[in-house]
């Protein structure tokens, strides 16, 4: 599903040049659950952003579903993104002015899904995440765990093939964290590919494979399953 080879990304400021990705290559097959780990600044987040088509690489190849997307323009990237990829962030990133229902609805709006179908799909996913009773609340009125469940609901509402999770439990206590990890595992079992960046060894054990990174390169790959 994903094949990156020789991927490079360099951040330049006036005086300093930071190599975030240094000729990185790996592959992720459809249905896999992969964790990416490594110390701060090793390039995990950069990698995730490139995989999520939020950022473009300086060099190398990125094949997504058999298509070379490394040189896609913003328009094409946004299009590919909204059809195939869901995001879960450490800090939830819900829109404060929208209710739970409206937050989850957002990707469907940009996909052009019609109102009644939208309603039905959002309700289904809220049900699945067990936050249906909170549908008319605003994010500030929810606990961290609930907020992250909303974020996961939003990430999956358009049935993406790939979910990118950036430290999804980083802001949660352990019981809420486990709940979220269970959600992701369930999704993976239903066929969704998941790539997760994490610092937590505990969380990484939910995945099939761990890629460890250092200074923009992979150092080891552990296959857990």
């Amino acid at each position: 599903m994903i094949k990156i080879s020789d991927l490079q990304k360099v951040y330049r400021t006036e005086e300093v040049e930071t190599v975030a990705l240094n000729h990185l290559s790996f592959e992720v097959k459809e249905g896999e659950f992969v964790s990416v780990m490594g110390p701060s600044g090793c390039g995990k987040s950069t990698l995730l952003n490139i995989l999520g088509l939020l950022d473009d690489p300086d060099g190398g190849s990125f094949i997504f579903n058999g298509t070379e997307v490394a040189h896609f323009n913003e328009r094409k990237r946004a299009d590919l993104r909204k059809r195939n990829i869901g995001f879960v962030f450490q800090s939830f990133n819900l829109i404060d002015e929208l209710t739970v229902f409206e937050n989850v609805e957002l990707p469907l709006i940009y996909l052009g899904v019609k109102g009644p179908e939208r309603k039905q799909r959002v309700e289904t996913v809220l049900d699945k995440m067990q936050i249906m009773h909170r549908r008319n609340h605003y994010p500030q009125q929810l606990s961290g765990g609930q907020q992250q469940r909303v974020a996961v609901a939003r990430a999956v509402v358009n049935n993406p093939k790939l979910i990118l999770a950036d430290e999804p439990t980083g802001n949660l206590d352990s019981s809420n964290g486990n709940e979220v990890m269970q959600l992701l595992t369930d999704l993976n079992e239903q066929g969704t590919t998941i790539i997760m960046v994490t610092h937590s060894e505990h969380d990484s054990r939910y995945s099939h494979r761990i890629i460890r990174m250092l200074d923009g390169q992979t150092v080891t790959e552990n296959i857990l399953v």
Binding site: E74, D79, R81, N93, E97, L98, L106, Y110
Partner: protein
């Protein structure tokens, strides 16, 4: 999709109430000002358009050149023979009609006597050029017979009460009886003339009133407003180019010079009269296209300031929206969709502002009417030409003020904003500074202009006229009505201790000096014509003492000298026009004015006969034997002695009623007449101040929002500085400094623009103030002070709050 946008927009507005209020208030007031000024402009440009033939009607005007070939006089009216001759000479002219103002005249019905102001003689075909709405009478015949009169309904009520006015007889000036043949609806407000009583033109053929021959030959009486009806889309140049030949053909060659070499005729479109015609003789005071431009500019300025507020506050707050934009982008939003979202927000807020503005316009229109003296109604806005643009307003203004924030915010990189790498609105800071500078530059320009307008107004009203205008009562009258009884009338008045002097003249100060006749001055043993224009006023022995004009050389006219019955006094400007170095040289010289020959007995110091708009022109006071044609009196001026003005007036009225029982006693104070001259400037000044204040207020609101935001962004910095020992004052200085710098830059930009604009405005006044540098400094300080107060209050609050609180905001 759109619903989602609007939902976010409304919730955002509710969440940030202060900023929403500033935006909404600014835009509402801005649009209201535009609507108010639009009603005014619609009114001003609608003049005479009620006339169904407005685009085909032209007025004939006439100019006169002085001996150097420069136009010295341009009148909106022409001599009586021109009308019929033009009709004969140019077959393309479909119709010609003439209107001859009578001036103020006493009218009587039975025991009721009133002075009527808006009385005109009108040709019998008046109705075929002007859309006069005749409520009673036959439009084809109402003005056909001599001694016919038509009047407005309110006048008919005044004279005849509830009785049927038709066929009633009213008496003009206690001499001539006119039969009422019709009642007409008053002309609309937006007309350049408002007759309330029209006498039939045929009456003028009577020699007792004017005379048929004079109507055909009097080329000098340019008081007949003459209107032509031309075919649709007629090229008027066809006629105008043939005017010189026309003049030479019919006016003859008096003095061996072709008339076309010293006089010209012009055509003026009916609908252009109100805004663009400022000739030396107009039927009524006209408006001014410049005023329309000035107020349009101010309205646009205010709207611009409001739009800038929106742009500034939206981009300043962009950091708060950054996360939302990031999420939307990761959820698959295209940049164009984000742009549409932010534009729909600005369109929404402008739409609300527009609706509020319509209500506010309706509420404040009476205020504008009170200041302008106009009778504007909101109905003027209820035309498709206004409603369609008004419906588009939210889109135009919304997109104008929203496009920059939309473009700016939609460019955010989701990676950065979601990772918290985004720095609050940093990229847009320099652009925001430019906008703040623009707002303050506009405000400072308006402050300076307002100050200079008022200085000039004050100057005009307070500058010495060269005589004492206080406690002078003026009365228009008909010389013939007092005739020889004047001397006893005068003596009786002067017997009272309340009355100091009584003088007669053909014109009085505050009026125009338009009358001119050829002057000749002593040259060796003979008289040679003077090349310069010298205007004249007929004056009696007591005119100069009544007004207290200073005599520079020689003496005043005096009853003690028998030869003074034909004699002259000149003003200093006239002696200079004669080429004399010293006023004394003029005294005792032989002088001839028109057909009056005599000696110059004295020279007056230059005094302001006309308004400050006009230069002091060479002037001759002429003393001519009673009955000399063209040298009669039209006004009596009475100087009240001491402070008992009411006692003086009472005595004047009693005496008047005994001598002139048939003429209503109507007077005016000279100082009030002078004030009237500056009334339109006074109104303009008031409007200017009001709109400037609004502009500055909205700019300050914007600054308030912006500085509040800027300070909130620096809360942590303030906390750290305080922990390290910064004082409150140093923090206030730190926070205010940036904004004050912007005000200073604004001032530097504003000064030359304001100077340039006001320099041109002052050019309209012959007597004007010089622009003083300190006005600029004061305006700069004022703007800085306002800005400092706006920012300072918040800065102090921020600096006073305990640092722990500000550090905890992370």
């Amino acid at each position: 999709m759109l619903r989602n946008y609007l939902k976010i927009a409304i919730r955002n507005m509710a969440k940030h109430k202060v900023i929403s209020f500033i935006n909404l208030f600014g835009l509402t007031v801005g649009i209201t000002c535009c609507l108010l000024i639009l009603t005014y402009i619609i009114h001003e440009v609608s003049y005479d358009k009620y006339n169904s033939k407005a685009d085909r009607v032209y007025r004939v005007t006439r100019s006169f050149n002085n001996k150097e070939g420069i136009v010295s006089l341009h009148l909106g009216a022409v001599a009586p023979p021109f009308g019929p001759l033009l009709r004969n000479e140019f077959p393309d002219i479909e119709k010609v009609t003439r209107i001859f103002p009578v001036g103020t005249v006493p009218m009587r019905y039975e025991e009721k006597i009133f002075n009527e102001k808006d009385v005109y003689f009108g040709d019998d075909n008046l109705f075929s050029i002007f859309d006069v709405n005749l409520e009673k009478g036959n439009p084809h015949t109402a003005l056909s017979d001599p001694y016919s009169v038509i009047l407005t309904e309110d006048l008919a009520k005044k004279y005849f009460g509830g009785e049927d006015p038709v066929n009633k007889v009213i008496r003009l000036n206690n001499q001539f009886n006119f039969k009422v043949t019709g009642i007409f609806k008053p002309f609309p407000d937006a007309a350049h003339l408002h007759p309330r009583m029209m006498l039939s033109f045929a009456t003028l053929k009577d020699t007792a009133i004017y005379g048929e021959r004079k109507l055909q030959t009097n080329w000098g009486n340019n008081a007949f407003f003459t209107y032509l009806l031309l075919p649709p889309n007629y090229p008027v140049k066809n006629i105008e180019t043939r005017f010189p030949a026309f003049l030479d053909k019919y006016m003859g060659n008096p003095g061996d010079t072709k008339p076309s070499s010293w006089t010209k005729l012009f055509l003026q479109r009916l609908t252009d009269i109100h805004l663009t015609s400022h000739l030396d003789e107009e039927i009524e005071e006209n408006g001014d296209i410049k005023r329309v431009y000035i107020f349009s500019a101010i309205a646009l300025f205010i709207l611009l300031i409001a739009c800038i507020n929106y742009m500034n506050l939206s981009t300043a707050r962009s950091a708060l929206r950054a996360k939302e934009i990031g999420i939307r982008k990761t959820s698959g939003a295209q940049r164009s969709e984000i742009i549409v979202q932010f534009l729909s927000e600005s369109v929404l807020i402008t739409a609300i502002a527009t609706i509020l503005a319509i209500g506010l316009t309706w509420l404040t229109l009476p205020l504008l009417n009170a200041v302008t003296g106009l009778d504007l109604t909101i109905k003027a806005l209820l035309t498709l030409k206004v409603i369609i643009p008004l419906l588009l307003t939210p889109f135009v203004i919304g997109i104008l003020s929203g496009i920059y924030p939309a473009l700016f915010m939609s460019s955010f990189q989701p990676v950065k904003v979601l990772k918290g790498l985004f720095k609050a609105g940093s990229g847009s800071i320099s652009f925001r500074k430019v906008l703040v500078v623009a707002q303050f530059a506009i405000s400072i320009i308006l402050i300076i202009c307002t100050a200079i307008v008022f200085q000039q107004l004050h100057y005009m009203q307070e500058k010495s006229l060269g005589f004492d205008k206080s406690r002078i009562v003026t009365i228009g009258y008909d010389d013939a009505s007092l005739g020889k009884t004047f001397e006893s009338f005068r003596n009786e008045l002067r017997n009272s201790a309340y009355i100091k002097e009584v003088g007669r003249s053909s014109r009085i100060p505050s009026g125009r000096l338009l009358d001119e006749n050829g002057a000749s001055t002593e040259s060796g043993d003979s008289l040679r014509p003077v090349s310069a224009d010298i205007k004249y006023v007929v004056a009696d022995y007591d005119f100069v003492p009544t007004y207290g004009v200073h005599v520079l050389a020689g003496r005043n006219f005096s009853r003690a000298y028998g030869t003074d019955t034909t004699s002259f006094m000149l003003n200093a400007a006239a002696t200079r026009a004669l080429g004399l170095q010293h006023p004394e040289q003029a005294v005792g010289r032989n002088f001839k004015y028109g057909d009056v020959k005599g000696k110059i007995v004295g020279v007056l110091d230059d005094f302001h006969f006309e308004s400050m708009h006009q230069q002091i022109v060479p002037l001759a006071l002429v003393m001519a034997p009673a009955g000399t044609p063209g040298f009669g009196f039209n006004f009596i001026s009475v100087k009240i002695a001491g402070n008992n003005v009411s006692g003086g007036l009472a005595h004047l009225e009693n005496t008047w009623k005994r001598y002139l029982p048939q003429i209503p006693f109507e007077y005016s104070f000279l100082d009030e007449r002078f004030e009237q001259l500056y009334q339109s400037e006074q109104r303009q000044g008031t409007l200017f101040t009001s709109f400037s204040a609004i502009a500055i207020f909205i700019a300050c609101l914007g600054l308030l929002g912006l500085s509040a935001f800027a300070i909130s962004q620096r809360i942590k910095e303030i906390g750290i500085r305080k922990v390290l020992g910064a004082s409150v004052s140093s923090i206030v200085t730190l926070l205010s400094k940036d904004f004050l710098k912007l005000v200073a830059i604004a001032a530097v930009i504003a000064f030359p623009i304001a100077w340039y604009v006001m320099h041109h405005w002052l050019m309209d006044f012959a007597y004007r103030i010089s622009i003083q540098w300190w006005i600029f400094i004061v305006a700069g300080i004022l703007a800085s002070a306002v800005a400092l107060i706006t920012i300072g209050l918040q800065a102090v609050r921020a600096a006073m709050s305990p640092p722990v609180k500000s550090l905890r905001t992370e």
